[in-house]
Amino acid sequence: MGQLRRAYLGPISEVAWRLPGWPTRLLAAFSLAERGSMLDMLAAADATPRREMRRKYFLHALDEGRHAGIFASRVRALSPPGNISRAQAATEDAGLLQGHGIVAGETLFARLGEMDFLAFVFVAEADAVEQFHVYLDRRLPDPDTTAALRDILKDESFHVSYSKLECDKYRREGQPIDHAIRLARWRRVKEGWMRFTRDFGERMSGVWLLVLYFLVIWPFRLVARLERGGWQRAPARPTSALAAARLEG
């Protein structure tokens, strides 16, 4: 484990697992992340030109799907009875899923290509193994979640070993796999930063827009009215003219 990562992951985990309500949030986030990974691996299984890899990606995807279910069931178990938490609702509703690698319609596999994808899988899985070890070493989760994590760790260790073997193959073939691994590490740091800046930017722009709302909107309230109910004559406008069809409004 990297010294820097070790330095911050331990203390952060200590806090995160002890704050009220946070264990279920963390587990829900893991569930959604695993589910997203399942989609990435299935997309890779579908698209890979290396036919010998298809089954490996597919089995990896099935593991990730199973892990998502295990984490979701831990969220259910830890949520107060009769009062479903937001975290649980998130795992119940896959429509909230945003954590997969599809960006602008391209899957992670399509964006990276096979070698970079495998390097990414290796780095991500190794990080997950390290992270789970921190949780277990510090005895942070409850006993049942600990047992679940140990179960999942076996799969994750297998994912690390098979992706490492594939990376080794690339290395033997003289492919720039070490560069790809460095790139994958850098990409994870960059994506973490981008997530932070995006979230921060959204919050800040929300504040500015709220200021705008209270400063600018209120005078217009005097003239604005909601529409009345009931049928109204459809406004006169051309619905079949090409010029009108070109308009966005």
Partner: protein, 68 residues
Amino acid sequence: MSTPEPYEPSRLDATLARLGTAGALLSMLARGGRWWMLPLALIVLVVGVGLLVLQSVHYVAPFIYMVF
């Protein structure tokens, strides 16, 4: 016969298209008789351009927001 390539808009095309959209919005409001919304839409559009600029440099968004 070679297959034509799909169109890739340049930055200038995109900027012009956005200006066109802003104009189309104002024109639509005027056409529809919602005159009172014109100044409001104008203010909102100016803010929108600001947001777009910030988005284009989102690597450093937190620092820019701190300056503001």
